[in-house]
Amino acid sequence: MTSMFTKTPPGRGDTHEPSTAGPQRSAARRLFALRSTARGRQARAAWVLAAPFLALFLAFMLLPVVWSLLMSLTDTQSADLRTPLNVSFTGFDNYVRLFQDEQFVHALRNTAVFVVVGLPLTLAAGLAAAVALDRGIRRFRAVFRVGFYLPVITSIVAIAVVWKTLLDPQAGLVNTVLGWFGIDGPAWLADTRFALPVMILMAVWRNLGTVMIIMLAGLQSVPHSLMEAAELDGAGAWQRFWRVSFPLLRPALLLTAVTTGIGYLQFFDEPFVMTQGGPLDSTLSATMYAYDQFGNGNYDVASAAGYVIFVLIVALTVLQFRVLRDKD
């Protein structure tokens, strides 16, 4: 049904054959063999123009990525960087060590909770905000749009510091207000039961603006005629949303789910600023674990942790594409 509105690009799906020649090869052949022709000159110009980017990409992106993969298979410590001959190849030892380390497993669990609880909440809250802005709250739409979007563009460190102050167990506003009603507020960020939920809440609040903006754009591009047609056919507001708007929002939903999901898997700034992963590792995330290992000079284990996170990100993204991509 959706194919009526969105064109499926040609060649997509399982029938698509990857070209066996490889793009670089043919390009190189063109560069050297067809030097004199006009097309050759054009190709050469393209390569020359792309060269600075390619050089930087190779030096600062690809090489470190490959190097880090190699490092994760050795026993490289910070002390070895000056005496690299001491480094030996250890295969998958670091990966085994990671999964034997209770702290890393704990960090992975925290990250999983953050994604599994935070991601759907963010998407739902963002969608709800978008629908509310699209339909209900017409008058102050601009104000609300700014209000919801403001946390997105504010520095995460500033936000974290403000939340930390608000949640201070003794002097914070939250516990002071609770005190007016005779409630003895918990220590929030210093309490193992509340620290992670508070961070999830903060992430939802912060990220729903991005989801809202994209969804709102999607909602506003729904053709009027479709809505009118649905209305004439007797569809109520709820049905119009589920049967007309929502299917059209699928690409927007996929986009926000993938980007927010990747962001949540790399959950770092909040615990880094607010709790350093504590209390009792209850807010320690996988990226923070990797960061700590780097800081301690265990480049081998840190690289391995980085690759575990990378694999998780790929897995989550593939899953999201499977679930959310439009099907014919």
């Binding site: 090489l63 190699l70 690299p84 210093a190 301690n296 000079g297 265990n298």
Partner: protein, 432 residues
């Protein structure tokens, strides 16, 4: 598809060869009789310093350091000192990256707890013999050591003492400073706690206690006060399973467990200023902040040495000066380091910045003991000790922090904590 995979293999091969070649290129020149822990002392030439010295300094570059640099330039007209400020927060990573990349300045201020780690990275030159260890407090000098070789000069001393609010302790019937023996101190804390509400309406806890990040600085002196330690340098073994450690863990946990200190990471200094806590432990810099932030409290707070059980002991922290292996102008850098750590200059620097000097002579020169609140630091520095000089210390310290947190929150017993620490420390090891 086959071509692609063969392609990938070849790319990886080519990369490996390149990387190995690069590693070989940077790795040569290493010989068996030098390297971390085995270096011969650097030599300082006679005559005046020449050329440019590039120095990194943490935090804001204080005018005091710049003034000393000017004085040095006047004495050595051919020398020029360039001081580059580095924020503390990024200093550790910046230093390790610079050492690893062989792209260091000539010298830097180094946090004492980083010395062993960076010396183990083969980053520093061994201290010249003309700089004498006897000029410094032993605990401060020990912070420069790695495997019995010194790799720096103490520059700023730091140790913790007890700060207490006389207006709050007096209401608990304590005359003068709280007791200096551990049992008496605990009794005093209980007496102060009993005044919460009526006599001291704002008071919540009798003391501030560090639980979580960097709490090992609080705890380790308790082990030393028992006459024990957590690491035996002779056998190279950790001793977290010793009875002294058990006793220190009990002491540490008894304070939050008896409700004498908050367990929720309340910031101690603002709580102290607000009268929510009556005592806490801090370094010398705090006095100045207390005076600047809350001048009306002047005279109501005092300092006292740490309470102890068997023998007094405290933690030696602060910063040292180190000259890098890759220094371009090592001779002038050592001359500047030597100049900065002359008693008169240490005294001038400490007085201008509110720090305390790492040398007893400088201490007298600055007449710091004239300040009533500095006396506790003088006493504490004499008995302060450095943590084990092993490259993996920070990781062990992190493990201590997290176990102390478990213990304080009642999630583990003393025996469980000891067992966990012993096995964790042994598996982390002391580095290669």
């Amino acid at each position: 598809m086959r071509t692609t995979s063969r392609h990938t293999v070849r790319t990886v091969q080519a990369l490996s060869v390149t990387i190995t070649a690069a590693l070989l290129a940077t790795g040569c020149g290493r010989s068996a009789d030098s390297g971390p822990g085995k270096d011969a002392p650097a030599k300082i030439g006679s005559g005046k310093a020449k050329g440019t010295v590039v120095m990194w300094s943490m935090g804001d570059t204080d005018p005091a350091l710049k003034n000393l640099a000017k004085k040095f330039e006047q004495e050595n007209p051919d020398a020029h000192v360039k001081i580059t400020p580095v924020p503390w927060a990024s200093a550790h990573d910046k230093l390790t990256t610079a050492i690893a990349g062989g792209n260091t300045p000539d010298m830097s201020v180094i946090g004492t707890t980083w010395m062993a780690e960076m010396a183990a990275m083969n980053g520093f030159q061994a201290t010249p013999a003309s700089i004498k260890s006897s000029d410094f407090y032993p605990g401060q000098w020990d912070t420069t050591k790695y495997k019995d070789t010194s790799y720096g000069v103490p520059f700023i001393a730091n140790t913790m003492v007890v700060y207490y609010r006389t207006d709050l302790t007096e209401k608990a019937g304590i005359k003068g400073a709280p007791a200096t023996d551990w049992d008496g101190y605990l009794k005093d804390l209980k007496a102060i706690q009993a005044t919460a509400g009526k006599q001291n309406p704002k008071l919540r806890y009798s003391t501030g206690w560090n639980i979580g990040f960097n709490s090992w600085i609080f705890w380790l002196p308790l082990v030393w006060q028992q006459g024990g330690d957590i690491y035996d340098a002779k056998t190279g073994k950790f001793t977290f399973d010793s009875p002294e450690v058990a006793k220190a863990l009990e002491y540490y946990a008894s304070i939050p467990q008896q409700g004498l200190a908050p367990t929720d990471k309340t910031e101690s200094m603002p709580a102290f200023q607000a009268g929510q806590i009556a005592t806490y432990q801090e370094g010398p810099g705090v006095g100045g902040s207390l005076h600047n932030d809350t001048p009306k409290l002047d005279g109501t707070w005092k300092t006292a040495p740490l309470p102890y059980s068997k023998q007094p002991a405290g933690f030696a922290g602060g910063s040292d000066l180190a000259v890098f292996k890759d220094a371009k102008n090592a001779d002038a850098a050592w001359k500047f380091a030597q100049f900065l750590t002359e008693p008169a200059n240490l005294a001038a620097y400490a007085k201008a910045t509110g720090n305390v000097p790492p040398s007893p002579t400088a201490w007298d020169e600055a007449k710091l003991s004239n300040d009533e609140n500095m006396k506790a630091f003088a006493e504490q520095l004499k008995v302060s000790k450095a943590p084990p000089a092993i490259g993996t210390w920070q990781q062990i310290a992190d493990a201590v922090d997290s176990q102390l947190e478990r213990l304080s929150l009642g999630k583990a017993t003393v025996a469980q904590v000891q067992q966990a620490l012993q096995s964790k420390a042994t598996s982390i090891g002391t580095g290669r």
